[in-house]
Each structure stands twice: as structure tokens, then as C-alpha cells.
Subunit: 434 residues, 2 copies
């Protein structure tokens, strides 16, 4: 006789909201590291973060219901750090270092809540802005992206029957495991999950993280998602992001200060952190000029995370720079995390193996690869290139150039000024898939 748990069934059919963000730790670890620095060094800076959908062919405002979006954003604003979470942040070691987060920072987090948002529809897209103190708006980046991406997934699956969903997830699981079996062939692989922002959904990311833990063992070093790291006793992975040089650049008083801004934030960073956290993003305003003008002490850092150049070309460029600085690349680390998938991971691994230490941050193509998995067809589950970037600081426009003009953000006139100051010549645009 079939037994139905009536309470579970009733609950499943009646809940008001299935929350996407249930914890403020459900964010990327680097946000917390940066937040501690922002609060320490720039507590009075205002920063606006804005949603940017680079995949303009997907009209998000037609796909996602505004009421549902507001309900999820409002729910995220109601979430607080729990006592257990703060105790864990205070007591855990990160990158081998105890007390990474100071007691006053932990105490400050206890009262933290996500600030208000501005949402409106325009041209089939959502305009979503977070205005206010940088110490607060910065924390919206990951939950905002996770909410929109999961609402998009839910919308694409809304009309699917029980059986179609079964096939859909079976295919996605089988596909990820094929990738895991290929990654197992790379004995010295070092890889982590960077897929929070672009995930299909929270439960699916959790499954993916468990899959990598099960399938790759020690080669899977952890996850950028702090909540999953805590729950699964994994390492929390991450360092810093483009928002640091972007805000520093926006606040620069003149072109001379602008040219120094990218190094100034690294100076602040190394005063607060050390060791494996000394990873620099070289590409905010173009890697060539960044390396050409970099101070010598940057060659002592652990490594770089080239984030918009093609992995092999970008890696070779950095290796040449280390060699020019008299450093042995075999003691240095390259972190590849820009749209990586199984083929590009294998290619970069084989290309650089033995020449440099490597680590891969696997994002969208880990936690949101459902392309072709829907038995009812369609591409509603394909990932899109959605970002949430700082767009102004203290009212001054923020700009990112990157090594790929397709990933540049900011006011066109300001972009031209940055290109001139940083001496960025002809860059070749490459399609941004994810």
C-alpha cells in the first residue's frame, strides 16, 4: 500500500514562498574578505551596484514575474547572519589562517542586513540597482544574481511535467559525471566551485559540490560558497574581485591617480591579508599595461587570476612577466576562472602542467549546464551572461575594461579615458558565453 506523508504533501502544496537565499553565508567567500577591507579602509564610500544582462536576447522581464522577483529580494533582505554562522566565521581557519575575520567585524556582521533596492522594467529587461554604503551594497552582488538565475530556471521549468523534470535532472547529473570522469584523468588537478552566482538553483549547486567532493576527492579543494563550505566541511575559496580597483579608479582625482589606483588597492590588500590570499586580478583595465607598470613587490605575490584573456595566452603573458622579474613560475599560481568548462580546463592543464601551479575556479558550466537537457526542448535553461557590477562610487562613474571589450562596463566616454590612461590599444572582442 502506498503511504503518503500527508503533512509533507500539504506543506509542499501550500508554501507561500520557496526562498532562494536562506542565509547571508550563501555568497562568495571573496565578498566577506573584501567586505572586511572595505569596512576597514573605506567605510564612508558609497557604491552603486547594478544588474547587467549581457545576453540581451533573453528578455528577463518577460521571463521572470516582477512580483516573484520582489518577493525573493524582500526575503533576502529579511535574512540575518545566525549565531552559528558567526561563530563558524570567527572560529574557522581559512587558507590555514585562524581568526581571519576580526572580532569587531564579526560583531558588525551580527547587525548586517541587505540594503534596499530599486527595481523597474525597461525594454524587456530589469533595471536593478543597489545604492548606498559600499559596505552594504557590495553584499547584494551574489544573492541578486543567484535569485535572478534561479527564478529564470524555475520559469523555464514551470510547465514541465513530473517525468520531464526527472529526465532533465537525470541528464544533467549524467553529464556532470562525464565531466568528473574526465577530470579524474588529470592527476595534479586543483579545482574549486565558483558557481554560486550563475547557478541553476541552490539545491543543484549543492548537488554539484557533493558530486565533485565524491568524484574528485582531494583534487576538489573547496567552494566559493561560504554556506556550502560550512555545511560540507569544505574550504571556502576566493580572494578579491574587480570592484576593488574599479572603485579605487572611480575615486581617483585625476589621471595620474587613476593610473596608480589598481596598485593602491593591492597595497591595501597585502596590509590585511597574506599567503594564498595574495592573488591579483590583472585585467580590470587591461593586463598588458597592468603588468608593465606593476611594482616589483607584486612579483612576490602568490599568483594571478587572469579573468578575461584566453587562458593560455593570458597565462603565458603572466609567466613571461614573472620570468622578466626573475621569478620561477613553478612556484607561482595561476587561477583560471573565466567561463571554464571541461575542454578548456583540460587544455589549460595540459598546456601549463609542470610549468606553473594551477588552480581552476569552475563556475557557470559547473552549476548551470542544462543545455539540451530539457526533454521538451527549448533553450530556456541555457545560462546567460548576467553580472552585477559596481557602476559608480561616491557618484562618480565606475569602469571596467577587461581584456575582452565585450566584457567592458561603464560610460563610453569614461571607457575612452581609461583606455588612454592605461594605454590600452586594440583589443580583440570574443563572444561572452557565460
Amino acid at each position: 500500500m502506498a503511504v503518503t506523508d500527508i503533512a509533507t504533501r500539504t506543506y509542499d502544496h501550500n508554501f507561500r514562498l520557496d526562498p532562494i537565499v536562506r542565509s547571508l553565508l550563501d555568497t562568495d567567500f571573496y565578498k566577506l574578505l573584501m567586505l572586511q577591507m572595505i569596512r576597514h579602509r573605506h567605510p564612508d564610500v558609497d557604491a552603486t551596484f547594478s544588474l547587467i544582462n549581457r545576453t540581451t536576447s533573453v528578455r528577463l522581464a518577460d521571463v521572470i514575474d516582477e512580483g516573484e522577483l520582489r518577493a525573493q529580494l524582500d526575503h533576502a533582505r529579511s535574512v540575518r547572519f545566525t549565531k552559528k554562522e558567526l561563530i563558524w566565521l570567527a572560529g574557522n581557519s581559512f587558507y590555514g589562517r585562524a581568526r581571519m575575520f576580526g572580532p569587531d567585524f564579526i560583531a558588525w556582521l551580527a547587525a548586517f542586513r541587505l540594503p534596499d533596492y530599486e527595481l523597474r522594467k525597461a525594454d524587456g529587461q530589469y533595471e536593478l540597482h543597489f545604492d548606498g554604503p559600499w559596505t552594504h551594497t557590495t553584499m547584494w552582488e551574489i544573492p541578486a544574481l543567484a535569485i535572478i538565475n534561479e527564478l529564470k530556471s524555475r520559469a523555464a521549468m514551470r510547465e514541465r511535467g513530473r517525468f520531464a523534470l526527472d529526465i532533465l535532472y537525470a541528464r544533467a547529473k549524467a553529464r556532470l559525471w562525464e565531466k568528473v570522469e574526465r577530470l579524474r584523468q588529470l592527476p595534479d588537478l586543483v579545482i574549486s566551485d565558483f558557481g554560486t552566482r550563475r547557478r541553476h538553483g541552490f539545491l543543484w549547486q549543492r548537488w554539484c559540490v557533493e558530486a565533485l567532493k565524491e568524484g574528485l576527492g582531494d583534487r576538489f579543494i573547496g567552494t566559493s560558497n561560504v554556506l556550502l563550505a560550512m555545511d560540507a566541511d569544505l574550504e571556502a575559496i576566493g580572494t578579491n574581485a574587480h570592484e576593488l580597483p574599479m572603485v579605487a579608479a572611480a575615486l581617483a582625482e585625476d589621471d595620474a591617480a587613476l593610473a596608480k589606483a589598481p596598485y593602491q588597492v593591492l597595497e591595501e590588500w597585502r596590509q590585511l591579508y597574506n599567503g594564498n590570499l595574495l592573488i591579483a586580478l590583472p585585467d580590470a583595465f587591461g593586463t598588458p599595461s597592468f603588468l608593465a607598470n606593476a611594482p616589483d613587490w607584486l612579483a612576490d605575490w602568490t599568483g594571478f587570476r587572469p579573468d578575461s584573456a584566453p587562458p593560455i595566452a593570458g597565462g603565458e603573458e603572466i609567466i613571461r612577466w614573472w620570468q622578466e622579474k626573475g621569478r620561477d613560475p613553478r612556484e607561482k599560481l595561476l587561477i583560471f576562472s573565466d567561463g571554464m568548462d571541461i575542454d578548456s580546463i583540460e587544455e589549460a592543464y595540459r598546456h601549463f602542467h609542470g610549468r606553473v601551479r594551477m588552480s581552476f575556479g569552475w563556475g557557470t558550466n559547473l552549476t548551470n549546464d542544462f543545455r539540451g537537457c530539457d526533454p521538451d526542448g527549448g533553450n530556456g535553461l541555457d545560462p546567460i551572461s548576467l553580472v552585477c557590477k559596481v557602476t559608480s562610487a561616491n557618484g562618480r562613474p565606475a569602469v571596467k575594461l577587461s581584456d575582452n571589450p565585450a566584457k567592458a562596463t561603464g560610460d563610453p566616454a569614461e571607457i575612452e579615458r581609461y583606455r588612454r590612461v592605461f594605454g590600452v590599444g586594440g583589443q580583440k572582442a570574443r563572444p561572452v558565453e557565460v
Copy 2:
């Protein structure tokens, strides 16, 4: 907060036995059709059914625990037809015919239980025999096979973790759906599930049947499994099996009677059934002699189920015979059910399309295709060629020749006699995969 249903969890961790056979309807429909005839025409015949594992490389007695096997067989013996099941058998239409099963047969089934069994180990295999009235031993064929196959599956999965099992079933689901999507390309396909005896497990067969119903719609005409047909409101599919001519042949008093035996059972069959149930198995003692000596009225039957010749050669042989008898093959039916899988179904469909009506009975490769699905490797889930055949009738040895010597069963001396009587010349052995 995670909610655990304590009652369910406690039950799941404590059950004494997870029964494999929970209903006497969990059998092939043809067993009930044959049983009605056996009871009507041969109520006093004794028949022994015996397990035969043609895949001798798999030592079943090393794989399956004897205590577990006895517990499952004993449990099957405790099962009775329920009132609901008998009402459904009496009230349902089969192949468009109401009251297929007579009231006295239904009343007799109410008291039916599976008879005793003899089980012992020898040379790493199980010797499993069912002795007694044919009216009872015949009903062991399907549950005995289903029990052993499912115990073998369970043994292969015993050491697997929660995650490996997740991947295993995800892969199997994704694979079956790939097959479904290929079958959808065949617009006039007629296919049914014949996979009860060789299934990976009951729940998996049920999933496969639901998959075909969902994916193929009307092209999926039903299942041989009576319980699944009842539960899913599908047609129960099946006609008759080799045991009828085998028992008739075993009881033949001399060579002349032996030569007539295969036609005698068809004569009995047509007195009891008609229409789509008039399907003959041509290969019990070799198709060529069966067709050469067949009575003219057999050409009026609906069709044939060639069961051991290669599908295309076997089908062409029968089409030629129909043409020689002046019949239009386009009005006749061929049922292919011997080890079919997606490639051979497509091939036969394309070869015969428009020339003859076709139906496919998809068995082992539908309900037990886990080859390569186990993330921990190994081939413990590969299907084996396990049958439960009548081996004697009233103490006289029973024999099957088939069109493939690798599928012949019986005493070698008797096989030689049958080959002489039925004029079977050189047959080419083909590997029996499933």
C-alpha cells in the same frame, strides 16, 4: 531546517524483507492465457520447470545469498490474488475481448498459490526446480526469474554509496530517454514492454513503462506485465510461449506424434482464443520445418513471433511462406521480441516498413540496460541470459531446439532425436547476449 519523517526513516531502516514479488499479477500476461488453456485441456499433466543460466561466467550462487533467495521465494509463495485483481481480470477487456477469462478459471485462481521449490547450489550456480502440476509450476517462471535478477542487481549495488546510486540511475534514465527519442522518429512504431523476467528491479521496470507511456504515446501499446497494465491502465500484451509445444512434444508417444505436436497445441489454442491472440511461435523446433509442414489454416492466423532467428532473416522467411500460401503480408503481423534493442528495432522497422505489420516486444534491453552506468565500474549490473524452462512433462524430457543452437535446451540425445524428426540441418550458432 531539515525535516526528517521519523516514521518513514525508521521503517526504511528496519524492514525484515523488501519483497520482490508483491502480487501474482506481477507476471507476464501470456502465463495467464496459457494457464487457462493448460487447466482446461491438460489439468493432469505434471511439468518440471528449471532455472538455466546460459551466462555461465556469472556464478550466481557466489553473487546471491541463499538465505535471501529462499526468503524471496517463500514470500512469493505467500502471495495470493487479491479480490481487486480477480475483479479486474474478470471485468477487463483484453485485446478488445470481454470475459477473456472464464468465471470458473477466475474462481480457481482465487485459491491459487505458487507450489514448493527445490533449491541447491552446484558448481557456483543455483539449481532451482519446480515440480508438480503444470497448472502450478508454470506460474513460477516469471517470478523466479524476476527474483533472481533483482537479487543479482541488489548484490551488485550493495556496497554503493548514496551518490554512486544517484549517478547510476541518472545515467540509466538518460540512456533510456535517448532510446525513446530515437524511437520517436519511427512514426508507425508499435512497441510494448516485455521486460518483466529480466528486469533490473520492479520499481525500475515501472519507471521504464512510465517512460515509454510518456515518451511514445500511442506507439507504446502496453506491457506484458499484468500488474503494471492494471495499475497504469495499459493493455496487457502477450499470447503464448514455447512451453506449449515443448510439453506437447515431450508427451508424444512416438516420432510421428512428435512431428504433429507443434500444430496440435495451436489447434487447441485456436479453439480457446482468436483474433490478435492467434500468434504462433515458429521456432521451438526450427522454423524451416515448422513452416514446411504447417497446416494451411495457420496462414489465416494473425501472425508469428519469430523468437530466435535474426529478425530480418526470420521475418523474410515467414513473409515468403505467407506469399507462397497466397496471403498478403501487409495484412499479417510479425512480433519481434528476441533480445531487441534500439539498433535492431530501427533496423527491422526500416527493413519491413510497408511490407508487413510489425510489433516489437522490448525486454531485457528496456528494463535492464545498466551496462557502463555504475560509476564505481564493474559489470555486476550487466544482464545475464537466464531462463526458466520446462525440462520434463510427466517424467519425460522436454526439449527446445530454436533457430539458434545456443538457445537449445534439453537432453543431448533427445535433442538429436528432435533434430532428426524435425529435419533440422546445419544451424549457425549466434551468441546469446540476453
